[in-house]
Symmetry: C2
Subunit: 146 residues, 2 copies
């Protein structure tokens, strides 16, 4: 993508810059996920399960921001590849309890490393201090505390 010659109106507009930067970020991480035969959203699901333990699909939707109907599909795939397990919650039989398998945990560690390298690549034009600052500002914008 050519952005170097963009009009000032665009290149000084935060919403446009965020969209361009997100596109660059997607390109940077796509290679990782493609190589692993895995999808971004699946990584989000694995991350949520690793941090919070077994969760219902509704809780997974809340934690990841994924649409509930999409959680169905990603969990289907992750269950198919053995990275998570789906079980009925005995205490509330509407719910599925999704839990991480050892294989899922391994895959997550794999992805951590490779994603870290992708971040370095994406953020290459920035100094270490600037990277931290950008991260902090984005967290602030999204009202997320780190």
């Amino acid at each position: 993508m050519r952005v170097h010659g963009a009009p000032r109106r665009l290149r000084s507009l935060p919403s446009w810059l965020l969209n361009q930067a997100a596109a660059a970020a997607s390109r940077a991480t796509a290679a990782v996920f493609d190589a692993e035969g895995m999808h971004r959203s699946q990584f989000a699901v694995l991350a949520a399960l690793d941090e919070f333990g077994p969760l219902s699909q509704a809780a997974l939707s809340d934690r990841t921001g994924l649409d509930p109907s999409d959680v169905v599909r990603w969990v289907d795939e992750l269950a198919g590849t053995g990275h998570v397990e789906r079980a009925r919650d005995p205490s509330d039989r509407r719910r599925n309890v999704i839990s991480l398998t050892d294989s899922g945990r391994e895959r997550l560690r794999d992805l951590d490393e490779k994603l870290e390298r992708a971040q370095q690549e994406l953020l290459a034009p920035l100094t270490a201090a600037q990277r931290d600052e950008l991260t902090a500002l984005l967290q602030g914008l999204l009202a997320i505390a780190d």
Copy 2:
């Protein structure tokens, strides 16, 4: 969207933060474009024409980052609403010369105002200094000089 309870792995990952922030930015500006019956990409086209004067569609694609085949459609619509004019370039008859009409220039000023308000809303959690810093960091990330 619920991001407040996202796993640390996600909420400290710049590529994820950029995607979430871009989604928030799209939501903030969608209201403006919808109300004006106009699309983001049309704004980008108008902005490029206003800053650089009449351009071929290929040049518009370069300036805006839009796909050439999408430029066709947006210019179609903008010509239909009278905001731009399409003329054959006499010096190279493969090319269309797209130029902004007075009506297009007016619309652009309209959008400037309303988009500015949308930015304020989007960036509300940040101080003025932080907003400038975020803008500068994103420009740096995209290797854009302001």
